[in-house]
């Protein structure tokens, strides 16, 4: 089977609001990723995009960049979308349908929010839930958090420890939008939104764009770049809304994690650095448990003990994550970009020593879509 690699990465301006159009932040990230891979737009034959703001985005971006792709994919299922694009690109490349795949996300949601008072979104409240006027999607994740507390004794302070750890990483990242280190006291003093969540349990709202280039490992070698190998990928969805979720504290990450680790021929203990989509503090707890990094129900304890902090046993969300780095909507692409930065040894003051193997995990909807990538250098 053809080996596939990530040959380039690009991150657009993340400071916000930036008064730029979504197409321009997407193009910025895409051109940076191509330059990083030593490629030009004309070398691309597969284009994969996700965004909540551009109509027919794969067509629009391809024309804007002068690409005439023979493989097109505009899959959108929230924050797992770009990881799914990579998962789909692997299959397309192995099947000979394309050779150089460009995967792009972009959003100017913060600029839009400042300008119009409303934020572009791809997800809407499921119809039955709408009858109760929830704070969507925050309340859906809050229900998971409350259940986790009731079932496993997870504490309010353990939820805070997730945001504190993210802020410790963010303080080491000059590109992070939150640079201050949070405390539990500050988190529970921030406005209550949907219990047990306060404002600081929730991700930032920013502009931003990211892109990666996926190609054959052979082509990546010829490009002489710091390519990152894709050892395995898996995606899964078990529901859309939380009503259809039979167990709120056991997620589809257990399905994709098991499949990806089996394909890679390694286990969670072999991973040096983890990047999991932290839209809310409960996410990191649930995803680390379900990917097998700690026993079920013990995620809060695992994180509060410092395991995911700088210098911990499992450095996690080392950019600062959606809680401290940046969160322009579908955060998934950033889990891949930060895993690449770590595996390439380019993470500066937050570099994890000898990072050889990484996991990137994206979620979409309300823990609905899952995609896991196992990567190595």
């Amino acid at each position: 089977m053809t080996d596939v690699a990530l040959a380039g990465m690009g991150i657009a301006e993340t400071w916000a609001p930036g008064h730029r159009d979504t197409m321009d932040v997407m193009a910025d990230a895409a051109l940076k990723a191509l330059a990083d891979a030593g490629l030009r737009p004309g070398d691309v034959d597969g284009v994969f995009t996700a965004t909540a703001q551009v109509m027919l985005p794969t067509l629009a971006l391809s024309e804007y960049l002068g690409i005439q792709p023979r493989y097109l994919d505009s899959t959108v299922h929230g924050g797992a979308s770009n990881l799914s694009h990579i998962h789909h690109a692997i299959a397309a490349i192995r099947d000979g349908k394309c050779e150089v795949a460009l995967v792009v996300y972009g959003s100017t949601q913060r600029t839009a929010l400042k300008a119009s008072g409303s934020r572009p979104a791809v997800a809407s409240v499921p119809p039955v839930e709408s009858l109760a006027s929830p704070m969507f999607p925050i309340s859906s994740y809050a229900l998971m958090a409350q259940r986790h507390m009731a079932e496993f004794g997870t504490t309010r302070e353990q939820l805070s420890s997730v945001a504190v750890a993210a802020s410790r990483w963010g303080s080491l990242n000059p590109a992070a939008q939150r640079r201050d280190i949070l405390t539990h006291e500050e988190i529970v003093a921030s406005p209550k939104l949907s219990s047990p969540f306060h404002k600081l349990d929730c991700c930032l709202i920013t502009d931003g764009a990211g892109a990666v280039v996926v190609t054959t490992a052979e082509r990546a070698r010829k490009l002489n770049t710091k390519a990152v190998q894709i050892n395995a990928s898996a995606e899964f969805s078990g529901h859309e809304g939380v009503m259809a979720m039979k167990d709120l504290v056991r997620t589809g990450a257990s399905v994709t994690g098991r499949a990806a680790f089996e394909m890679a021929g390694i286990g969670p203990g072999d991973i040096d650095v983890a990047q999991v989509y932290d839209a809310f503090t409960i996410n990191t707890i649930l995803l680390l448990e379900d990917l097998g990094f700690c026993p079920k129900g013990e995620g809060g304890k695992f994180i509060a003990e410092g395991n995911i902090d700088p210098g911990g046993s499992l450095p996690t969300n080392t950019s600062g994550g959606g809680l401290s780095f940046s969160h322009p909507g579908m955060f998934g692409i950033y889990t891949v970009l930060e895993a690449m930065a770590q595996l390439r040894g380019e993470a500066g003051g937050r570099q994890v020593a000898n990072a050889r193997r990484a996991v990137a995990h994206g979620i979409g909807g309300t823990m609905s879509a899952h995609c896991t990538l196992v990567l190595s250098n």
Binding site: S124, V125, P126, P127, V128, E129, S130, L131, A132, S133, P134, M135, S139, A142, L143, M144, Q146, R147, A150, P191, K192, L193, S194, S195, P196, F197, G241, V242, M243, A244, M245, K246, L248
Partner: protein
């Protein structure tokens, strides 16, 4: 919002004060939310079973800080729901500070802010 015919029927019956739950005509499973195909056995075109007064246990909840004050949203395991999915609705009959996982609830209807009857979960023996 992604509306559909099954949801519309569910909302209409609740608005008439007669809440219903979807039930598969083949395997008899009762489930939520309403949908085109039974999630248990795959049979399309489920029917309906009366849901008023259905009892269950609060599986999780969240207190939302709304402009009008705190509102409780709950997910309940209704005894009638045989397939494992949950019932999502506003929780009434208890103060936000007293709500807890495991409390017994009963399916009822109550007026929303627009005066339309919607399904709610009433806490049995609650504090208000």
């Amino acid at each position: 919002m992604n509306s559909n015919a099954h949801f519309r029927h569910f909302a209409e019956r609740a608005a008439a004060g007669e809440p219903v739950l979807p039930q598969c005509g083949s395997c008899q499973a009762v489930f939520m939310p309403p949908r085109a195909v039974c999630p248990e056995c795959g049979t399309p075109g489920p029917g309906w079973v009366p849901g008023a007064g259905a009892t269950g246990t609060l599986y999780s909840y969240t207190v939302v800080e709304s402009r009008e004050g705190p509102i409780i949203i709950g997910l309940a395991e209704l005894d009638m729901i045989t397939e494992g999915s949950k019932f999502y609705a506003s929780v009434l009959g208890i103060d936000a500070g007293d709500v807890a996982v495991g409390q017994r609830v009963r399916l009822d209807t109550a007026e929303n802010e627009d005066g339309v009857l919607v399904p709610v979960l009433m806490v049995e023996g609650g504090t208000k």
